[in-house]
Amino acid sequence: MIRVENLNKHVETVQGRLDILLSIQLAIQYGETVAIVGASGSGKSTLLSLMAGLDLPSEGSVALAGITITDLDEDGRANVRSRYVGFVFQSFQLLPALTAHENVMLPLELAAVRQPRKAAQRLLERVGLGARLTHYPNQLSGGEQQRVALARAFVTTPKILFADEPTGNLDSVTGSQIIELLFELNHEHQTTLVLVTHDEALASRCGRRIRLEAGCIVDASSTRT
């Protein structure tokens, strides 16, 4: 489902070249759940952004669903994202001017799906926010906002879901609830899940853990045997 080959990312600074990722080789199969872990600055989020086509590597390639996205231009990558990818972010990234319902409807509207209203409502009910459809993000708690973000991520039934520290901004109880919900939804939709996290509990729920240190993969073991 995801194939990463010889991926490098570096940036030029005043002090010289700074390597963020070095020779990353990685393959993630359909339906797999993968956690990318590592210390701050190890390159986790950069790897996620490159795999999702949000950024371009300095060298190497990334293929999603058989399409080498690193060969595509920005619009081409956007097209791949709209067909295969969903996102969940640490800071939720809900649009403040839209209600919870409208936030979830947005990807459906972009994909010109018919009757987006019903599908969005169904997903919001599924995440337990059926009564908060017309609430704006600033009227919701952090946990509720992340639920909306989950609903938005799953509403298009993506093949791959990228999650960047999905519990990073939440307390442990709410975080656990969100993890439960994330895996339930993932199971229901048979999505390939790639998440970046510091949270060992969350990482342990994934089928595979990839540990990064200073931009290199140091461990790519399975968490379940």
């Binding site: 086509g53 920005e74 956007a78 800071s91 649009l95 972009l110 600033n138």
Partner: protein
């Protein structure tokens, strides 16, 4: 379709959440003000043109030495134009042994097509307005003819071969020309009696005036059709050329209204640019998210452009509607002051406002919106990633193009546009660099300042580029406001000076050489203040540098007309008041043989300094060398001359004198005494013309005053809106300070200091720019004399401090009243 419906839905959501309100408000102000000013200006302009047309007795007048072809009349009929004609010629009128050279005017039914005649039945009765003409076999004559020939109403006179009964005294004709000294006593008769007088023979010197009136479109079509068919002796008359005193006032008023429209557009443009920038910046997250969800760059561009177009269209439509009602309301309020017959609002003005709204939006709002295309999807992970700023060329180039287009529309003058744009740009670049340096240097002061001053100034100096841009934006708005205040004041002053309360309302012509001193004495005895006495010698220009003048000029031109009739030649020792030497020098010695020529005539006849002009007076000829070219203020009611000679040049030629004086309306007995003592002198009353002129000037003044109030209101609203668009970042910083424990007093005072400094700098900048711009405008556009305005250097910075200081202070007030978290969530 998908993108349109998505754009619409997102737009509705933005509208509901209030994200669009400032942008929409700025646009609404732009369009509503442009619409109000255009509609009101257009109506007043058309009304004034209509009134001015009364001075010609028709909307379009063709002068000719022969009768017009039948096809012209048919064409006018086809286009639904009303028409009439007058025929004017000189003729001798007899009463027993007395005879008098009179100006005979035959008028057809329908005359005057615009305006009215005024008549009385006897000397004592009140004059009445009428649109009738003399019935057949009757004539209307003016008082001078009655007194000169000792006649009264009811008597009969012989005009050519036909006897007529005098039925009324003619006291006012709208189209009586302003060359006062050549006027003879008037006899008006019905056109159908003209042939019976036998006075029109082949070769007779007759001036025909063919008058047409109707709607603008038909007139324009008729004029276009007519122009190629005119022969050299035929000419279309125009209020600007044939009534220069009115034409100048109208042109200035039109230019002022035009200038104000441009200024309102610039003011609103600044607000639109600021509001769109804020709107755009607040949408980076949305764009990044849309990009993440698969929207391409083109989709994003379309999405925002469509939204912008929808906002533009809605705001423009609502703005036009508001403008429509605003001008209707205004006209209702000013009902008593405005003419009764007001032109209807023109659809042209509505379209203009609508397109102005959209063009302004594109010019000022497109660059920040185009920036959305550059938003990286990676921003969802790294919020600090901002798109590259749009190219300065694009931002300023577009705004510049819009302003250029507007200037072109209103001035139609490349040179003038060059001055305004070149001057404006130079001023802005200079001021930008100066302000930037000032802000950078102010950092040195920071360590020695108190905490609140430090916080306040730090905010400005830290982001010196964006602060400078903001100061420039406020400065431009304030500059625009000052310019229209200054121009309005000087325009109105000039108009009032042009026609003071006791402006001369009577002209005395044909005063003989041996009696002008006695005449002056009698005026003095009657306590009537006279202007100078001008000696007049009637003569023609016949050659330029020895060449016949007819070979150097086309007949159908100002020069052509000037050489086909006698000119009033005068001499003077000093330059007459309101004349200005534009080339050469006024004579220092009083050597005979020198002449000063009026500038437009000199241009038309290709006369240059040093040329030798030959004139004929009767059968004699004399030469004079051109030593100066003069510009003349035609918009005063004072006598003006094309040719002024040095003393001695006209010695030996028969001359008469001309003067003007003011006579109070209730002192007609003095006039009778004057006429009795000097029966040969022609007295011409111009009170009615003056009053009509005054009315027009009053309306023009009113328009200018109103437009000023409206533009200022728009400017102030925009200033408030602009302050509001720049507060997000400031609120964020204030909340951070609040979180770290800054006191309410510290926060409020540093905010006040910041905004007041912003206003102060913008005010200083506006004062500099306004002085530069008015200097250019006065010289190039309004032909007014520039003077330094000390007060704006004090008032503008002060006003800037108060307006921007208070509105900024007010906009950020809730930072200290709510919890920091609540404020941050609202951002």
């Amino acid at each position: 379709m998908k993108i349109i419906s998505l754009a619409l839905r997102l737009l509705m959501r933005d509208w509901r959440s209030g994200e669009l309100s400032i942008l929409a408000l700025a646009l609404l102000i732009a369009v509503a003000s442009t619409a109000t000013i255009s509609l009101f200006g257009d109506r007043l302009h058309r009304t004034m043109t209509l009134q001015a047309a009364e001075f010609l007795a028709g909307d379009l007048v063709v002068t000719s030495h022969s009768v017009l072809p039948e096809t012209w009349v048919k064409k006018a009929d086809q286009l639904g134009l009303r028409h009439a004609r007058t025929a004017g010629f000189g003729g001798v009128i007899f009463n027993r042994d007395e005879m008098l050279l009179a100006g005979i005017k035959a008028v057809s039914s329908g005359y005057p097509l615009r305006g009215y005649l005024k008549t009385t039945t006897t000397d004592e009765t009140e004059e009445v307005k009428t649109n009738d003409i003399p019935e057949r076999d009757t004539v209307w004559v003016d008082k001078r003819l009655l007194s000169s020939l000792d006649l009264s109403v009811g008597d009969e006179i012989e005009v050519g071969e036909k006897w007529f009964r005098i039925t009324r005294v003619l006291t006012f004709e709208p189209d009586r020309k302003g060359n006062f000294y050549s006027l003879s006593p008037r006899v008006m008769l019905n056109d159908m009696d003209l042939a019976a007088t036998g006075m029109i023979q082949p070769g007779s010197h007759v001036h025909y005036y063919f008058l047409f009136a109707g709607n603008e479109l038909a007139l324009a079509r008729f004029k276009k059709w007519l122009k190629p068919q005119l022969n050299p002796s035929q000419r279309i008359m125009d209020v600007h050329e044939d009534r220069p005193e009115l034409g100048t006032a109208l042109s200035r008023a039109e230019r002022y209204l035009g200038l104000t429209s441009i200024i309102v557009i610039v003011i609103a443009g600044v607000a639109i640019a600021m509001a769109t920038r804020r709107y755009s910046e607040r949408h980076y997250d949305m764009t990044a998210m849309l990009r993440c969800l698969g929207a391409g760059q083109t989709d994003i561009l379309w999405l925002y452009c469509l939204q912008l177009a929808m906002v533009g269209l809605c705001a423009s439509l609502v703005g036009c509607l508001i403008g429509w009602f605003a001008q209707e309301g205004l006209i209702h309020l000013l009902e008593d002051l405005l003419p009764h017959r007001l032109a209807r609002p023109g659809w042209g003005a509505v379209w203009l406002s609508l397109s102005t709204g959209l063009v302004t939006l594109i010019g000022f709002a497109l660059p920040p919106v185009l920036r959305q295309k550059q938003v990286s999807p990676l921003r969802v992970l790294r919020r600090d990633l901002k798109p590259l700023p749009p190219s300065s060329w694009l931002v300023y180039g577009l705004a510049f193009s819009v302003i250029t287009a507007m200037l072109w529309r209103y001035t139609n003058d490349v040179e003038l546009m060059g001055y305004i744009i070149g001057g404006g740009l130079t001023a802005m670049v200079l001021l930008y660099v100066l302000t930037l340096q000032l802000l950078k240097q102010s950092r040195r002061l920071l360590p020695v300042l108190s905490l609140s001053w430090r916080f306040g100034l730090q905010n400005l100096s830290r982001q010196s580029k964006s602060s400078t841009a903001q100061i420039l934006a406020f400065g431009i708005t304030m500059t625009a406001m000052i310019v229209i205040i200054l121009v309005r004041g000087d325009l109105i002053e000039t108009w009032q000076a042009q026609l003071p309360e006791r402006a001369p309302n009577h002209f005395a012509l044909n005063i003989f050489q041996d009696e002008w001193q006695a005449f002056a004495k009698q005026l003095q005895n009657e306590q009537l203040k006279a202007s100078a006495f001008y000696p007049i010698v009637r003569g023609r220009l016949v050659a330029v540098n020895g060449a016949d003048v007819h070979t150097v000029v086309k007949e159908d031109s100002q020069g052509g007309r000037a050489i086909s009739r006698d000119l009033s030649l005068t001499f003077a020792e000093t330059v007459p008041v309101e004349n200005k030497i534009v080339q050469g020098h006024w004579w220092q010695d009083q050597k005979p043989g020198q002449v000063s020529v009026e500038a437009t005539l000199a241009k038309s006849l290709h006369i240059a300094l040093g040329d030798r002009l030959t004139f004929s007076v009767g059968s004699q000829r004399f030469d004079a060398a051109v030593v100066s070219i003069r510009s003349v203020r035609w918009d005063t009611m004072n006598p003006n001359f094309y040719m002024i000679f040095s003393a001695g040049t006209l010695d030996g030629y028969a001359r008469t004198y001309l003067t003007s004086f003011y006579l109070p309306a209730d002192d007609k007995s003095a006039l009778k005494r004057l006429l009795k003592t000097f029966p040969h002198v022609t007295i011409l009353e111009v009170e009615l013309i003056l009053n009509q002129f005054r009315t027009i000037l009053r309306q023009v003044t009113l328009a200018v005053e109103f437009v000023l109030v409206f533009a200022l209101a728009a400017g102030l609203t925009v200033l408030f809106a602009a302050v509001y668009t720049s507060i997000d970042e400031r609120i964020y910083e204030a909340v951070m300070l609040r979180t770290f424990g800054a006191s309410r007093k510290l926060l409020r005072s540093s905010q006040l200091i910041e905004y007041m400094t912003l206003g102060l700098l913008a005010g200083v900048l506006a004062a500099v720019a306004a002085e530069m711009i008015t200097w250019t405008l006065y010289r190039q556009l309004f032909d007014l004399s520039y003077r330094f305005n000390g007060w704006i250097w004090l008032m503008t910075p002060l006003a800037g401090m108060v307006i921007i200081g208070l509105s900024g202070f007010w906009s950020t007030r809730h930072v200290v009243n709510k919890s920091p978290m609540t404020v941050l969530r609202e951002l």
